[in-house]
Amino acid sequence: TALTAPAMAEEPKFGGTLRIASLQPDLDAFDPLTGYSVDSWEILRAVTRQLVTYPGATTDIKDDTNLVPDLAKSWDVTPDGKTYTFHLKDDVFFSGPTDRKIVAADFVYGIKRFCDPNKQVAAINYFNLAISGFVDYCKEFAKVPTGDLAATKAFIDSHEISGVSAPDAATLVIKSDTKNYDFLNILSMNFVSPVPSEIASRYFPDSAEFRKNFPSSGPYYVESYQDGQKLVLKKAKNFKPESDQARKAYVDEIQVDFTANGEDSVVQKIEAGEADLSLYLEVPPRSAIRRFQNDRDSQIYASNSGSANFITFNARPEAQSEGANALRKPEVRQALTYAVNRAHLVQSQGGPVAAVPLSQIITSTILGHEPFDPYPTDGNKGDPEKAKALLAKAGYPNGLKLDAAYRTTAQFETIAVTVKEDAAAAGIELNLIAVPATQWYAFIQDPSSRWDISLGSQFSPDWQGPSTRMLLGGWLNSDASPCGTGNVHSICYSNPELNKLAAEAFPSDNPGPIWAKADKLVSTDLPWIPLFEKRKIALTSDRITHWAWSSLAVQADITNIAVKN
C-alpha cells in the first residue's frame, strides 16, 4: 500500500496552487511568537525561516529529525557547549510589507518580543532555560503597561538580553547558562524567527493587522487574509531557492480555505477535488480512512506521529475529592489502567492504521523509546477483574466514582464514552463532564474546577527525536514545571529520582539510555495513564505529485509538496 509514501520517480514540477481545507474557521495563531500548535506551525513553515530546520521527509515523520542550516549558513559552538555563534546567509530577504534583507538584529528583535506583556511567547519555559539573562529581561518587561505600543517599542529599544547579541549584520550570538544537547532543536521551533522591528512594532502581536501585514521571512508571503474565509500565500519574488536547503517551495500559491465546517465537510472537499489537504483535522473520520484505503490508495499517507492520548489526574493539592484522593494511591491508578481497554480505543480511532496501543510515557518517534508495558493485558483489552481486585485492595471493594472531564470534540467524546463503558465493567463509574473545547485549558487550569480525571489530555512532541525534554524533562519534571497554574493538564507530578535523571540527561552527549531508564521508572509509577499513540493520517486529493512529511507540523510539509498544474 501507499501508507508509507512511495518515492517519487521523477523530479516534481514547480508551479500550481495547493488548496488546504481548514477544519477551524481561523488559524489559532499566526505569528511566530504565538504559534504553538502543529497546525499553526504547518502554515508558519511557509512564511518563516529559522536558524536551523528540518528538510522534510518523504517516508515517515520520524525520518525528519536531521537538522540542516536554514538562515544560518554555519555556526560555531564553544567547547563548554554554552555559546553558539551563527553566521547568517547573505541572500535572504523578507517579503510582504517589506523586502529588505534579513539581518542578525531581526533575530534579536524576534527574541526580545518573547515576553511582550501584551502577548507572551507560547513556550516561554524553553527560553527561560536556554537563553542567559532572559528571565531578568522579562521581569523588567512585565512592568511595561499593556496596550501601549510606543511603550513596548521603547522598552525593546532600550533593553538588551544578555544572552543574545548581533555583533554585525551577519552574526548572531546566543549564550546559554547550561549545556543542552537539544539546544539547536529548541532554536528550530518557529518561535526563533527573524522579525523586522519596523513592521512588527506597529502592531500588537498576532493581531488581525499583524496577520494581514505579516512580515514573511519564508518562501511565501501573505497575499490576502480574511479570517473565516481564506488565507492566500504567494511565492515571494525575492525568495532565492538556492538559499534554502529545506524548502523546495514547489507550488506558486497556497490557499487555506476556512469555510469547511466539520470533519465530514473537510473530507468531502478533498474527495470532491475542492481541496488537496486538510488542516486541523487531527483524525480523519474512520469511514473516510476506509474509503481512501479502498478506492484512493495513493491519496492516503500515514506515519507514526509521536503524539499520544492519555488520562491525567487532578493531582494539585487543592483537589481533595474522594476520587482525587483515591487516585493518589498507586493501586487505584493501576486499577484504572487495567480497566481501560486500549484495543477498544484504538478501534475507536479507526483501527491499527490510525493508532497503536500505548503503555509508556515516551512515544515511538522520540529519543529513548524502548517498547515497554508495565501492566500488560491480553490483546491490550484490559483486565476488569484485576482492576476490581486492585480497587478492593486499595479499599474500594464497591467500586469508585470519578468525575471525568473531556473536551467536546468528536475525538475526545469518543474516548470519553468508550472509557466510561469499559471502566464501568471494572466497577469504576465515570461521571462525564463536557467542557467546550475552547474553554478546556481554562477549565483544567482553574484550581477551583471540579474534576478527578481528564479524558481530554493529549501530547504532541514539539519536535521529533530528541524531544524527551518535553515530557520527562518538562511536564513530569517538578523542577521544570512546578505544580500550579501553568502546569499543563495539572499533572503536578513530583519524582526526585526522575528529576535527577533529567538533570543528568540534559548536558549528556548520549541521553538516550538515560531517558529510557527514566521512562521505565515513570511509566510504572503511572503519573498518567497512556492510552494510545496516534498515527498521523493525511488524506489528499489526486493532484499531489510529490509528498513530504514535516516533523514539526506532524503532517504534510507544504513547502515540499508538489501538485499537478
Binding site: 501584551n118 499593556t146 496596550g147 479570517d227 473565516g228 481554562a442
Partner: protein
C-alpha cells in the same frame, strides 16, 4: 402620526438598550474567567492576571460597561482617555478588533443569505400558497400540503446535511461541480459566483420556510377569499387570475409580511445552523464561535446585532402594515 412614530422608535431603542444591558450581565456572569480562557494554555497566574487587568475585569461593573461601549481593553491599545464614538460594542479578545468592525465585516454574508432566502421562499410560497388556495381540496392542494409539511418538519440542520451531501458531494463525485460546498464570494466581486455559493444555503433555509409560509399564504388567502370584496370583484367581472393574484393576494399579504418580518429577523440575526453547515462566514457563525470561546464582547455584540435586526424588521413590517392599512394595523 409623528407621535406614534416617535413612540415606536422610542420603544425600539429602549428594547435595544435593555438587551444590551441584560446581555452584558448575562455574559459577564456566564463567562466567569475570560482571562484564563484567553491566556496561552500554559500561562502562569501572573500572565492571567495581566490579561485580566488588560481586559479591565477587576473594575466595577458600571465602568466595565462604559469601557465596553466606548473604549477598548488596554490590550488593544485604544488611545488612553479617548472615548470611542460611535460605541464600539467592545473589542474582541480573540480577534483584537472592535466588535462593530467585525460584525460589519461579516454582515454582508448574513444579509446576502437572509435576503436571498427571503426572496426565494416568499416567491415560491406565495405562488404555491395561492395555487393551493385556488384549488382548495383538489389534488394539487393536497400535494402542496404534503410538501409543506415535509419541509417544515425537517430541521434545518438535517436538511442542510442532506442537501450538502447530495447536491454537493454526490454531484461532485460524479463530476458535476455545480455547487461549491461552502464559502462566500461578495456580490460586487462576481454576482454569478455569489449566487452559486449561496444556492445551497438558500435552498436549505427556503425549504423550511416555504413549508411554513405556503400554509400561511393559503390560510390567509382562504380567509380573504371569503370576504365580501372578493365577491364584489367577481361581480364586476374581474378575471379570476386578477381576483386571486391582485385582489385577494393584496389583502392576504399582511399576516404574511408580519410573519415574514419575524422569520427574516431571526435569520438576519444569524442563521447559525445554516451558516455552520455551509461554512458561511456570517454573523451567526462568528456568534457561536465567540460563545464557545468565551469572547464575550463578541457575544454581546452579535446579540445586539440580532436584536437590532429583529427590531428593524418588525419596525419595517409594522410601518409597512401601517402604510398599507392603518385601520387594520392600528
Amino acid at each position: 402620526m409623528t407621535k406614534r412614530l416617535l413612540s415606536i422608535v422610542l420603544r425600539a431603542t429602549s428594547t435595544l438598550l435593555i438587551v444590551l444591558v441584560l446581555s452584558f450581565f448575562i455574559t459577564r456572569i456566564a463567562y466567569r474567567n475570560p482571562a484564563a480562557m484567553l491566556a496561552p494554555r500554559n500561562a502562569t497566574q501572573q500572565t492571567i492576571d495581566a490579561v485580566a487587568r488588560a481586559l479591565r475585569l477587576d473594575e466595577p461593573w458600571y465602568l466595565q460597561l462604559w469601557y465596553y461601549l466606548f473604549r477598548g481593553p488596554d490590550i488593544q491599545g485604544a488611545p488612553m482617555g479617548l472615548a470611542h464614538w460611535p460605541p464600539a460594542l467592545g473589542y474582541s479578545f480573540r480577534k483584537q478588533a472592535p466588535v462593530t468592525d467585525l460584525i460589519l465585516a461579516k454582515a454582508p454574508v448574513t444579509l446576502s443569505l437572509a435576503l436571498g432566502a427571503v426572496v426565494i421562499w416568499m416567491s415560491i410560497a406565495i405562488v404555491s400558497g395561492v395555487v393551493a388556495a385556488r384549488w382548495q381540496g383538489k389534488f394539487i392542494d393536497h400535494a402542496l400540503a404534503f410538501f409543506a409539511y415535509v419541509g417544515l418538519s425537517i430541521p434545518t440542520f438535517l436538511s442542510g446535511i442532506l442537501i450538502s451531501f447530495f447536491l454537493f458531494f454526490q454531484l461532485s463525485t460524479i463530476g458535476i461541480h455545480w455547487f461549491p460546498s461552502s464559502g462566500y464570494v461578495p456580490l460586487v466581486e462576481d454576482p454569478f459566483e455569489w449566487a452559486r455559493h449561496l444556492a445551497l444555503p438558500w435552498l436549505t433555509l427556503a425549504i423550511a420556510e416555504i413549508g411554513i409560509f405556503q400554509r400561511v399564504v393559503r390560510a390567509s388567502m382562504l380567509d380573504v377569499l371569503g370576504q365580501d370584496y372578493i365577491r364584489t370583484a367577481r361581480a364586476k367581472g374581474v378575471s379570476e387570475n386578477r381576483v386571486y393574484f391582485d385582489h385577494a393576494l393584496k389583502a392576504a399579504l399582511n399576516p404574511i409580511l408580519t410573519l415574514g418580518g419575524l422569520e427574516l429577523a431571526v435569520i438576519m440575526g444569524g442563521a447559525i445552523v445554516t451558516e455552520t453547515v455551509f461554512g458561511l462566514d456570517g454573523v451567526g457563525r462568528m456568534a457561536i464561535a465567540a460563545a464557545l470561546d468565551g469572547d464575550f464582547p463578541v457575544v454581546i455584540g452579535t446579540t445586539i446585532f440580532a436584536a437590532a435586526a429583529f427590531v428593524l424588521c418588525t419596525l419595517t413590517v409594522d410601518l409597512l402594515a401601517e402604510w398599507r392599512d392603518p385601520v387594520a394595523a392600528g
